[in-house]
């Protein structure tokens, strides 16, 4: 952190005030770059916290039998791993990127609501700390899964109200962040930056922000009902009082399905930003990318019960949710075809950001295939709640969202720090990650198909071999990520020592405004709007 301070101090804009000194700069900052940095650093820390929990899970599953942890703690780990990764790592990382990049991409001096921006970051920290504090409470951390299904979640110990309030805080933080993104994009675009000229990353975040505003209150409502069921004798989800536990699942997944797209849409945006630069071609089908994103976002609201095919839906419900879910394959397919077409007949080079992006396209497609398989309701009667689904959503999250976050890190680090990262170690990081992530998650397809349920701390002997392989992959993947931390710190401290240009990547200034400002980007950029808007995709 001190290194970052030093860097910014060295390079602050000469005709404008620079950052405050010391810790107050970070506490009270309203600068989008500072806040973006804090989001990114925080999410990287959380990535390792959540990752450690994942390694505890994989260590326990290395062999049949219970070796390390108590089943209750195991359940807490699966629950907390998911909550930390979703709300602490992936979502904040994308908010960090949004903070850093959206103003620079649309030629704005800062986010529209800078004080709220600061508040939403610190609210996030408070929310996650409150959530983490439950680990030390009587009865342990929440252990009913990140989905908090009642009635099981009502058996949580003292942690329950704290977890609910943590969710409220995270929700408020997300909503404020989303409002800020929307206000910025609608009000602060430079003259000439029409909506259909915005970089895809900005577009996907705009749509994501609307999703967030629509869904976070729903989630807050759902967990509040849990709270009143537990403490105030309501019975929203208790059949004995006229409620229905399945009602909770409907409400939760009305939030939960768009929520997973909150994590994937900005991923699409970053991929659409990086691939054209390294293919030295304009993005193929810009307009269809925008429409496909909109279509995916719309569909995300009307498919929620595909998470619940086995709860006992009527046939008409099963069929409707099956057909609606299958439709998602079409816009998603369009995106994958567009990325392939963008690469086609380009002049590709394979720096680390491009490698991660290509791996994303391939491995996300695998996750998409299993998604298509599970969209077929009768098949979901086999796949549901088995390791097959675990493999599916990890393929759409780890080698997709997380890989793209890594790609984004490598892609923009030179712009953020003014230094070049070490390409050799970057590529080593990529290859270790790409190989180990498949060792980690691919065998989980086999386990699920062979009948291993998810969320179990111990398993039958026939599942032993693939679990061991998966655990080995997990430790390889986990420890490989330390390379990324090394590279980030090394780059902040000067990296290769190579002087980076404003453009950094060959021809990048044709693709985005951020490559027209100096590297590192001055503390304040675009105090006056840019004169030329890159219109390369037209």
């Amino acid at each position: 952190m001190t290194a970052v301070v030093a860097e910014h101090d060295d390079h602050h804009d000469h005709h404008d005030h620079g950052p405050e000194k010391g810790v107050l700069r970070w506490l009270f900052t309203t600068n989008h770059k500072d806040i973006g940095t804090m989001y990114l650093v925080f999410s990287l820390i959380m990535f390792f916290v959540g990752g450690t929990m994942a390694l505890i899970i994989r260590a326990e599953l290395f062999e049949p039998g219970l070796q390390f942890v108590d089943p209750q703690f195991f359940n807490s780990m699966t629950t907390m791993h998911a909550l930390v990764m979703v709300f602490g790592a992936v979502m904040p990382a994308f908010v960090g990127l949004a903070n850093w990049m959206i103003p620079m991409m649309i030629g704005a001096p800062d986010m529209a609501l800078p004080r709220m921006n600061n508040m939403s970051f610190w609210m996030l920290v408070a929310g996650i700390l409150l959530m983490a504090s439950t680990l030390f409470m009587e009865g342990g951390a929440p252990s009913a899964g990140w989905t908090f299904y009642p009635p099981l979640v009502l058996q949580t110990g003292n942690a329950m109200p704290f977890a609910v309030f943590a969710v409220h805080m995270l929700g408020v933080s997300s909503i404020m962040g989303a409002i800020n993104v929307i206000a910025t994009i609608f009000n602060m675009r430079a003259p000439g930056m029409t909506l259909m000229k915005m970089p895809l990353f900005v577009w996907t975040w705009l749509i994501t922000a609307f999703l967030l505003i629509a869904i976070m209150p729903v989630f807050a409502g759902a967990v509040t009902m849990l709270l009143t069921d537990r403490f105030f004798d309501t019975s929203f989800f208790d059949a004995a009082g006229g409620g229905d536990p399945v009602l909770y699942q409907h409400i939760f997944w009305f939030f939960g399905h768009p929520e997973v797209y909150v994590m994937i849409l900005p991923t699409f945006g970053v991929a659409s930003t990086i691939i054209p630069v390294f293919a030295r071609k304009p993005l193929f089908g810009y307009a269809s990318m925008v429409y496909a994103t909109g279509a995916i976002a719309f569909l995300s609201f009307i498919v929620w019960s595909h998470h619940m095919f086995t709860v006992g839906l009527p046939v008409a419900g099963e069929l409707y949710f099956m057909y609606a879910t299958m439709l998602i394959a079409i816009p998603t397919g369009v995106k994958i075809f567009n990325w392939t077409a963008t690469m086609w007949k380009g002049a590709m080079t394979f720096e680390t950001p491009m490698l991660f992006s290509i791996a994303f396209v391939v491995l996300f497609t695998l996750g998409g295939f299993t998604g298509l398989m599970m969209s077929l309701a009768p098949l979901d009667f086999q796949y549901h709640d088995s390791y097959f689904i675990v493999a599916h959503f990890h393929y759409t999250l780890v080698p997709a969202s997380v890989f793209i976050l890594m790609a984004a890190g490598y892609y923009w680090l030179p712009k953020w720090t003014g230094h070049m990262y070490n390409e050799k170690i970057g590529q080593l990081h990529f290859w270790l990650s790409a190989v180990s992530v498949n060792i980690l998650f691919f065998p989980q397809h086999f386990l699920g198909l062979a009948g291993m349920p998810r969320r179990i701390p111990d398993y039958a002997i026939q599942f032993a071999d693939w679990n061991m392989v998966s655990s080995i992959g997990a430790f390889m993947y986990g420890f490989s990520q330390l390379l990324f931390v090394y590279i980030v710190i090394d780059t902040i401290r000067g990296g290769t020592g190579e002087k980076v240009t404003d453009e950094v990547w060959e021809g990048a200034s044709k693709h985005g405004l951020e490559w027209t400002v100096p590297s590192p980007a001055p503390y304040h950029t675009f105090s006056t709007p840019p004169e030329v808007i890159p219109t390369e995709h037209f």
């Binding site: 049949p64 039998g65 108590d70 089943p71 009587e138 252990s143 009913a144 009635p151 099981l152 058996q155 110990g157 059949a239 304009p282 993005l283 810009y286 086995t310 046939v315 099963e318 099956m322 299958m326 394959a329 079409i330 397919g333 369009v334 994958i336 075809f337 392939t340 077409a341 963008t342 086609w344 007949k345 380009g346 002049a347 590709m348 080079t349 396209v361 497609t365 298509l372 398989m373 077929l376 309701a377 009768p378 098949l379 009667f381 086999q382 549901h384 709640d385 088995s386 086999f446 198909l449 062979a450 009948g451 349920p453 998810r454 039958a460 002997i461 026939q462 071999d465 693939w466 995709h537």
Partner: protein, 408 residues
């Protein structure tokens, strides 16, 4: 071009590897033993192959491009960025594929729902953490817990799970069903949501507290089919397996008769030795208590109280019996335990070195019952309560012989 061919061949080989199931470690979905599960399997294979072919086409194109359209080979980037025709084509082709998939999937959904005209019905109740099976119509009703060997091994460190046959997939009382009969299952739960999954039957169904779900099966082949609870249901979610034994009608009828005979036997109130009480008490404990109070009786701090050294356990016996039978807000009532089991259990928890208790006493089944209970249980015997009190036992064998003689 050569490289692309190699890559293609490699992908096809990998796909074929996916398609073939191996006995040693399974890679693919199992076929199952019902027509429904085969329908699901076929659909699974269809969509898997479609995905493989799409994957080969898309990744093939992409890798061709990666190998050839690179700057290091001197390729110059073209600048096209739109082509309405191809965009329409690659929207329409997936749509056609989806329609082709939707048709068989729709049939399968409808087939899954055909819970009509069953020949028999079984009510399945999920409980933390075992299954409760009730055969509607013939009165068979029993609990199905994880088997004792698995229970001991997973709760004791340093024991080898590989030494237990069907580790974690075995139960004390399997669900026995006839082959070639349409069976309707009714699912519900007593506490939290559970889910009943036997992969060979082709489906799982959630058991929701307060509601009833249904599903059906028609098993063609006799055999033993194993599964597990698949909805996270708390601490021992991983330890409530399902075993279904399908047998020919004749054998099934014999099983029904034997089970009913056993179930309807008069209570066994014979005197038992200390050793027998302790050994059987451990079994009762493993089935009913161990999930919460743990194998060492230490409970789980913050969740479940310890039995070791607990006043409630080692103190007044009548209060202990009352406590066990009544339950608390957290502990279910164990009124279901017959006097026999209760006597064994109480002797065990008060005296087991494993649990760290040593009151040095023993209890016989007769002592678990009040005089009124006994007279209710043995209406044919005069003074059953008195007999029990004096001799410490009532012999059920004698009872049934006398009662049948009396009725003639």
């Amino acid at each position: 071009m050569k490289k692309t061919k190699q890559l293609f061949a490699c992908l096809v080989l990998m796909a074929m590897g996916l398609g073939t199931a191996h006995a040693a470690y399974t890679l693919n979905l199992m076929k199952g033993v019902t027509q429904l599960s085969n329908e699901i399997y076929d659909l699974h294979m269809l969509v898997l192959w479609i995905c493989v072919f799409i994957g080969v086409a898309v990744f093939g194109t992409m890798f061709y491009s990666i190998f050839h359209h690179r700057k290091s080979k001197g390729h110059v980037a073209e600048q096209f960025h739109e082509n309405t025709t191809v965009e329409i084509i690659w929207t329409i082709i997936p749509t056609v594929i989806l329609v082709a998939l939707a048709i068989p999937a729709t049939y399968a959904v409808i087939d899954l729902d055909q819970v009509v005209e069953p020949e028999m019905s079984i009510k399945v109740t999920g409980k933390q953490w075992y299954w409760d099976y009730e055969y509607l119509g013939n009165g068979i009703h029993f609990e199905s817990h994880l088997d004792e060997a698995s229970e001991k091994v997973h709760r004791t460190s340093g024991m080898d799970p590989r030494s237990v046959p069907n580790y974690l997939l075995n139960v004390d009382n399997p669900l026995v069903v006839p082959t070639k009969k349409k069976i309707r299952f009714l699912f519900t739960a007593a506490d939290v949501i559970h889910s009943w999954w036997v992969p060979e039957l082709g489906w799982k169904k959630d058991a929701n507290p307060g509601f009833v779900n249904d599903a059906w099966t028609y098993i063609e082949k006799p055999g033993t089919y194993r599964g597990q609870c698949t909805e996270l249901c708390g601490r021992d979610h991983g330890f409530m397996p399902i075993v279904v034994i399908a047998m020919e009608q004749e054998q099934y009828d014999a099983w029904v008769k034997a089970t009913l005979d056993k179930q309807n036997q008069a209570a066994d109130l014979s005197k038992q030795t200390r050793a027998s009480l302790m050994a059987k008490g451990e079994s009762v404990y493993l089935k009913n208590c161990v999930s919460c109070h743990q194998i060492d009786g230490k409970g789980i701090s913050g969740w479940y109280p310890a039995l070791s050294g607990s006043e409630k356990v080692t103190g007044n016996i009548d209060q202990l019996i009352g406590f066990i039978q009544a339950g608390t807000s957290k502990m279910p009532s164990f009124k279901k335990l017959p006097a026999n089991d209760l006597a064994q259990l109480i002797t065990y928890i008060r005296n087991s070195a494993d649990l760290g208790n040593n009151v040095n006493d023993e209890f016989q089944p007769c002592e678990m019952l009040s005089l009124d209970d006994l007279d209710d249980m043995f209406p044919d015997i005069e003074d059953a309560g008195q007999l029990c009190k004096e001799f410490g036992e009532v012999k059920p064998v004698k009872v049934s012989a006398e009662s049948s003689a009396g009725s003639e």
